[in-house]
């Protein structure tokens, strides 16, 4: 487990960081926030590339930084693997030598996946003899992932590893990130400002704004909160863990979730695959009587839990219970008044199958 509690200030009246959070024993913790919120600074402090003005960083019982006791472990002694946004492969070394750079310097008793295993995991066989200059951006980032993992770190730090890639390359690297997360039994701190990456990879979320932690917790829990800046986004909504049940010959995939079943456009994953579905609040409509003659296939019986002011004027977030699961719907105040929506009443939640485009694989 990683515990961070630091203060840092750039210049006399510059940007001030004052943040504390923890990273779980295993799984991905995403540091999420707009650019300039201090998330990359926090990562540099954990990696040892920046010395904070004050604070403590403790990794699995080892004190990395404690300004009060004048402890500051240099990066080379921290065993924190870092994947930088710009890959930072050594241009004078082959891909194979880049991969081995950390491996040969890892402590002898350190355990972790071997060269062959990592090469297979990240699909690097064909690249081993090449130089970084001849690789595409996506290939470079995959090699950087392998290099960091092969250093046998106690913690993996990823600093917006997909931000420098275009959409196509991102889609190419993202599955490898998911595979690495599942294969590496170590905590990962993942810095990003892209919600898609949080949905696809993160177990826990630390929300940052202006150098401060707004909230931290399980991704699913924070997604249902309407008091966070997340709710002001166009893609605000809950994350629903689902299992692929079956794909009909008609081209629809049935996804089971705790409390019901959803029909989505055909998915390539085999039955049994676990997915995480982002149900955007603006894609959810409500009816007080069971609707008939609609094109919408997903009509879920639900109970209104509460109403919260929306992020825009004249808007309301309606929190719904569908069995044990929670959904959020974003409605106008007018609709809420017209249908006399209030906590406790049963409703039907309408979800169009084609709106489920925000899919991420989970373990």
């Amino acid at each position: 487990m990683l515990e961070v509690s630091v203060r840092h200030r750039y210049g006399r009246d510059g940007f001030a960081l004052d943040a504390g959070f923890t990273v779980a024993e295993a799984g991905v913790t995403a540091l999420f926030g707009p650019s300039g919120c201090g998330k990359s600074t926090l990562l540099s402090i954990v990696a040892g590339l920046l010395r904070p003005d004050a604070g403590r960083v403790v990794l699995g019982g080892t004190v990395l930084v404690d300004t009060a006791r004048r402890v500051f472990l240099p990066p080379e002694a921290r065993r924190c693997g870092v994947v930088f946004q710009d890959a930072r492969l050594f241009p004078h070394l082959s891909v194979a030598s880049n991969l081995r750079y950390g491996l040969t310097r890892a402590p002898r008793d350190a355990t972790g996946p071997g060269m062959a295993e990592v090469v297979a995991l990240l699909g690097l066989e064909a690249l081993l003899a090449r130089r970084p200059a001849g690789l595409s951006g996506g290939e470079r980032q995959r090699v950087a992932l392998g290099r960091a993992l092969l250093a046998r770190p106690c913690l993996l730090l990823m600093d917006e590893p997909l931000a420098a890639l275009d959409a196509g390359r991102r889609a190419e690297v993202l599955p490898f990130l998911a595979r690495l997360r599942d294969a590496a039994r170590l905590p990962i701190l993942y810095v990003t400002h892209a919600l898609e990456e949080v949905d696809a990879l993160a177990d826990r979320l630390v929300l940052l704004r202006d150098g401060r932690v707004l909230a931290e917790g399980a991704v699913e829990d924070l997604a249902t909160r309407t008091d966070l800046p997340l709710a002001a986004r166009r893609d605000a909504g809950v994350l629903l863990p689902c299992t692929v049940a079956a794909t009909d010959p008609g081209g629809l995939t049935r996804l089971d979730f705790p409390g019901g079943t959803l029909l989505a456009t055909a998915r390539p994953e085999p039955p049994g695959t676990r997915l995480r579905l982002r149900i955007r609040a603006r894609d959810v409509a409500l009816a007080v009587a069971e609707p008939r003659g609609l094109s919408t296939r997903n009509i879920l019986p639900a109970v209104i839990q509460d109403l919260a002011p929306g992020s825009a004027p004249q808007e309301v977030f309606v929190r719904l219970a569908v069995g044990p699961s929670t959904l959020l719907a974003r409605l106008t105040e007018d609709s809420v008044a017209r249908l006399a929506l209030r906590p406790g009443i049963p409703v039907w939640a309408l979800l169009k199958a084609v709106t489920f485009d925000h899919l991420g694989g989970v373990r």
Partner: protein, 230 residues
């Protein structure tokens, strides 16, 4: 074109003096370049100025200063001679030393340019992969600054072939010992009927310099290609 034995000797001597000057100056120049580029210490400005002095001071003055320091009664020359039996004045070694001092700022400048090309982010990456200071210098910084070191070495060698003022002042003009190409040309112009010799040696000198510049350019390109830079 027929060259006399003396002329061949001057060419060979020039190559030897320039080569030895680079061998002597290269490692200290890399260290000084690292010191000037990477660290902040009191007296850094003074060291920078001292290194660059040979570029602005008349070469004869540099030769005179070396004579004062390394002469048989100089503060460095006396112990060198008394304890180790090493004499630098009026020897080939002395000519190499004078040439090394003159070309030192050229190497330092080229090495610093090479060092500036090294992305500090790569050194940070090496640190996170467990490489300590000497380890990452040898495996990352040094290979990446190699084009600058090589450029400095070739430039210094080319310039060293033609060093005149400092050599003649400190090492004198002894055929076969310290009479390098430029000194031989000078001697030829001073002797009656030496115009033809002077012209031949001048042409040779020019050809050598151009060949070396082309070599430097080619090597730099190859190295940048190897390092994946455009």
């Amino acid at each position: 074109m027929e060259l006399s034995a003396e002329e061949w000797q001057a060419i060979r001597l020039s190559l030897e003096v320039a080569g030895r000057s680079v061998l002597v100056g290269l490692v200290p120049a890399v260290l000084v370049a690292l010191l000037l580029s990477r660290s902040r210490f009191p007296g850094r400005f003074l060291l920078d100025a001292l290194v660059h002095l040979p570029l602005v001071v008349p070469p004869v003055v540099v030769g005179w200063a070396l004579l004062m320091l390394f002469g048989l009664r100089g503060p460095i020359g006396a112990p060198l001679h008394d304890w180790f039996g090493i004499r630098l004045v009026f020897t080939t070694e002395g000519a190499a030393l004078a040439t090394a001092v003159m070309s030192f700022p050229l190497i330092v400048r080229a090495v610093r340019l090479g060092l500036d090309q090294v992305d500090p982010g790569l050194e940070a990456a090496a640190r996170t992969l467990g490489a300590g200071p000497l380890d990452r210098f040898l495996t990352v910084t040094l290979p990446l600054m190699a084009p600058g070191i090589l450029a400095g070495a070739v430039t210094a060698f080319a310039a060293g072939l033609g060093e005149f003022g400092a050599v003649i002042t400190f090492a004198s003009n002894i055929p076969g010992e310290t009479q390098t190409l430029p000194l031989a040309i000078y001697t030829a112009t001073q002797s009656p009927g030496g115009e033809a010799v002077a012209a031949r040696l001048a042409g040779l000198s020019l050809a050598l310099a151009v060949a070396l510049l082309l070599l430097a350019e080619w090597v730099a390109r190859r190295m940048h290609l190897l390092l994946g830079r455009a």
